[in-house]
Amino acid sequence: MSEKDDKQSREKQQAQSGPVKQTTVPVDADDVVYQAPLRWGLIARLLRFLGPHKLRMAGNVVLVGLSSGAMLLGTFAYREIVGCLEVGPEYRTRFYVWVGILALNALVVWQLEYYREMGLVKLGQRVLLDLRMTLFRHLQRLSLSYYDRTKQGWIISRATSDLGVLEDIITWAVPELSRIVFLIGGGTIMVIVLAPFLFWVLAGVVPLMVLVTFFFHGHIATAWRAVRTQISRICANLAENIAGVRVVQAFTRERRNLHEFDRLNEEYYRARVKAAIVHTLYFPSIGVLSAVATAAVILLFRWQGEAAVSRLLQSVATSGDLLRVGWYASVAILASPQPIRIKDMIMVLVMLRRFFEPIRHLSHLYGTALGSMAAAERIFGLLDTEPDVKDRPGARELPTIEGTVRFDGVTFAYNEGETVLENINLEAKPGRTVALVGPTGAGKSSIINLLCRFYEQQEGQITVDDYDIRDVTMHSLRSQMGIVMQEPFLFSGTVMENIKFGRPEATDDEVHEAARAIGAHDILAGLRNGFETEVQERGEGLSGGERQLVCFTRAMVADPRILVLDEATSSVDTATELKIQEAVDHLVQRRTSFVAAHRLSTVRSADQVLVVQGGRIIERGTHTDLLARGGEYARMYREFLREG
């Protein structure tokens, strides 16, 4: 009560506050990739997907090592070439050899990189295949209650965008890290061995590069997230207003919507400018760092050069300018004697550029890892969801049945405490039709859901030919049942393929025969390309009535012992209605049928009508019996006549 009062008072406030508050199109939060701190447990679980491919991964790491080595050899070749030129004509042959090595080595790197890349892509795809199929199989096992609770789009995003993110981290983490170790480690060792005094340049600049990269990484990621959010908002706005363009035009909202769209674009523009600023600060700062490194190399050479000069001066041992001699002496002592070679300078300069690439990859990888934490959590959450309804251990195959269905004291609630069905008892003899009538929410669909074992009752038992349906496998149970849902769902493909869905081995003739038997043949054959008409996503391209007829034919071809039919309430035009009534009449013949009925004709011809209200069966009998009894059913029927 108090809650209602609350609402009313809020309303009054609103009434006083004047014009309506503006909201914007909401963006699905899950579609924007969020970053979360690294969690090693999750990473370990992710890397476990590499398990079956350990050898391939090891092979890849070896290839990374080889190609990094070859790249370093290339750098070394540059050094040697310059070195030969430094010395002079006597090294001419050596010079030719190194130029040849440089060129040949380039071809080797090319081939190594090709195999490495392809190997990694194959590996990644294999891992992704495993992940995808694991997820898909799991989705096939999850109970319908899960699908009731969860938005379709959410599940699809998990299986598409989230998986993509995970694939990156699983496949790229190990090779990228090993590239860093091989290339930067190897390069550093090379410098230490060949030109130790230049090591200090690397030691000073490389960590700074890493720091700067990671520092900007965070800012760049944030800026891009803002841009992406704005893009999604623009897309959402566009999608909605184009899908609803009739409403837009009918309500002459074009100008206002354009204005709104313009505003969204302005926000997008601002986010872009921000992202551009962060982005343009990053690359030039790396540029400044390498300039500093270059300057440091130049100065180190000067230092070494002066040291060499001062050693020369010392050996000449001229006195006079004491101060000058002192300076030379101290430099000569501090700087350990090193050969001043142009080739070392060239090597370090080339190497610094080489290092930059893996550092950037590392920061990218780090970002991916952060982004994939949320994705991994969601996917594992999905994989860890246990289906509510599953085959019992030791469940048997249901043998071919006659079709007696019995409910004994069945009580059921979707959520604890909200009983939907209470103590339902019913029996359907083979070949008979049971019509369930009653208002929506009375429990008709729940009875059907339990019979199909989409859900499990809390109390009582449901038997088919004296087999408790919980003791048999779901597969054997459902393959003897035909289920026609209220919403006629079709898959993309031809009408023929859709009809054969329930029994793929059926022949075309059987399909035609079934369609004829339920009187749907004219309509289906009269479609654009007859039975070969392509049905688009979710049955688009066929009218509601046509879709229903395809579904009926599908059930007819499956030829089940037990038919479960939830009649559609949506209105179709009269001629189609006639066809549908005819089809239902034929479909229920010679099999045990449960129909959640909305059509009078269905109810009238049923062998047994069950009136469901508030989760109980309150009346049962044939149409005529029930009318004669003058109870709830008679009352509802009278209402129907008055209104209809």
Binding site: G18, V20, V99, T280, V309, M345, M485, R638, G644
Partner: protein
Amino acid sequence: MSVHSHYQDLKERQQTVSAWKVGGRLATFLKPYWKTVATMWGVQVIGLGMMFVPVDIIGRVVNDITAWEFGRFWIYAVLVVANEVLRFGIGFARALLNVRACGRAEWDMQVKLYDALQRMGLSYHDRESSGQLISRMIMDMRFVGSFFRTVIFTMMEAGIIFLVGMGYLFYKSWVLALWSLLMLPVAGWLIFRFATTARLRFYDVRQQYGDLTNVLSENIAGVQVVRGFAREDDQTRRFEGQVESLIDKLLSAMRVVAWNAPLYAAFITVGLAVTLFIGGNMVLGRPMDKQLLGMVISFFFALRIITMRLSWLGRGVSHAQRAIASADRIFELLDERPEIRDKPDAETLREGPGRVVFENVSFGYSGDSTVLTDVDLTVEPGQMVALVGRTGSGKSTLVSLLPRFYDVTRGRVVIDGQDVRDVTMNSLRSSIGLVFQDSFLFSRSVAENIAYANPDADMQQIIRTAEAARAHDFVQNLPSGYDTVIGERGVTLSGGQRQRLTIARALMKDPRILILDDSTSSVDPTTEREIHEAMMHLAKYRTPFVIAHRLSTVRRADLIVVLEDGHIAEMGSHDELMEQGGLYRTICDLQFGLAGGPAAIRDDTEMLAADEEEVEEETFADEEPID
């Protein structure tokens, strides 16, 4: 289907479209910002020229070392750093200028496109299914946006670097420069061919990815069917097939990348080796020339920079091709003139009671097929008209001529003495309230949806209208009442509730003419009657058109128009038409159940009459929740 065809189309266009024409037209979007663009390029040329400063300095350092001369090293070091700091500033400025001009151009284009889309006649939107149109537009705009922001920029930059760089190379040594000129066209060709092939293969990957997502989403949407027929294994196999085919396509695309990207790098290295070979020979041949080694090294680093940027150019070209194909589609849309627009001398629709006349109206969606033929119909103000007929008989088409969603092929539609084609669409549509079959609502608050036509309405008005549409009660019980945002997590409305909101939305306009297209089908009969009564009460002078299948709705109409194959078959009141025993009678009989026909109903009624008693108002079927 959806994703599939976009990429196919893009692929074909990419091969046929005239890049210069479309590109030129794209450039016109930059025209208003030409000053910014010009400034940016002025700054950029300087910035790019400065790239070669450190390269030259290294050459000098090498020469000084050779000459055992270390005096100028401090100057070199300071110059290198100062140059880079300056470039930092220039880079920053040019990026800002770039996003300013190009971001604006993108913005302009998006808004222009949006405007064109929403102005386009409905016949256009009928032709292009909306889902496809949207995903295509979003994709195209993304490609074109990146074209403005990065592609033009990268390509121009690569071009400038090439020119400035070649200038530098020739300045250093024209012999070496000529040699390297031989290598550059090959490099350019390699990179260009690679980028194009790769892109085309990636279209196939995208396409396959779309198919795969489709199988997945169908499997989720149709989960009951899959389980019901116990076809889980089949579905899994089907999905696996799609995944495998995706892997095949991806590998085929990646093979191009994995082969060519390092090939380009290898080619450049070989080219550099050749340059070093020739340059080195020069050095070794003239050992007395102490300046040569530094020159060769400067040359080497400069050439490296140029070739590196050349690879960007290749990527740029391939992106540009994609963007041009997308832009071509966008321009196609921009060039399409809406078929229905205001006449130059259109007047506003004058106030009037709402008298509607269809004079000899014929109409066909596309030239040859006619949907309506010679419809003559006069509706007096306040008269309720019900349109009846089977699917495709032309009911919805007839009413969509009123707000001029389509124009008649022959004859005319007149409201209060004015032909709808002579008045402004704004005034026409403001006086017609429309409730569509599909109860489309926007993802905004309930209040905003109701006040859609009149965003400045106050809450009192909104609540009053909601009450009239019998929506107030359930809206109050929503989590945040009128502020509840439709479609947000956890908020689902039943079909009936949606319909009532769309009715409220139409009533909000206080329209002269109200059109309900089968819009009370999901509402239970009692509520429906209440809505109708409220409607009639709310606007005495309103002329309602109702399309309905349910007889309870139709029966209440003053005038029932039975359409068949695009012409009026019968017209009159319920009783008159029942009397006539024509098509209307047949439809009525059918609705009362076929099993026994009218006779059975009569029997049942007699049986019921035996214990006739007061019947309290309760409903047979409540609302079916959707989604």
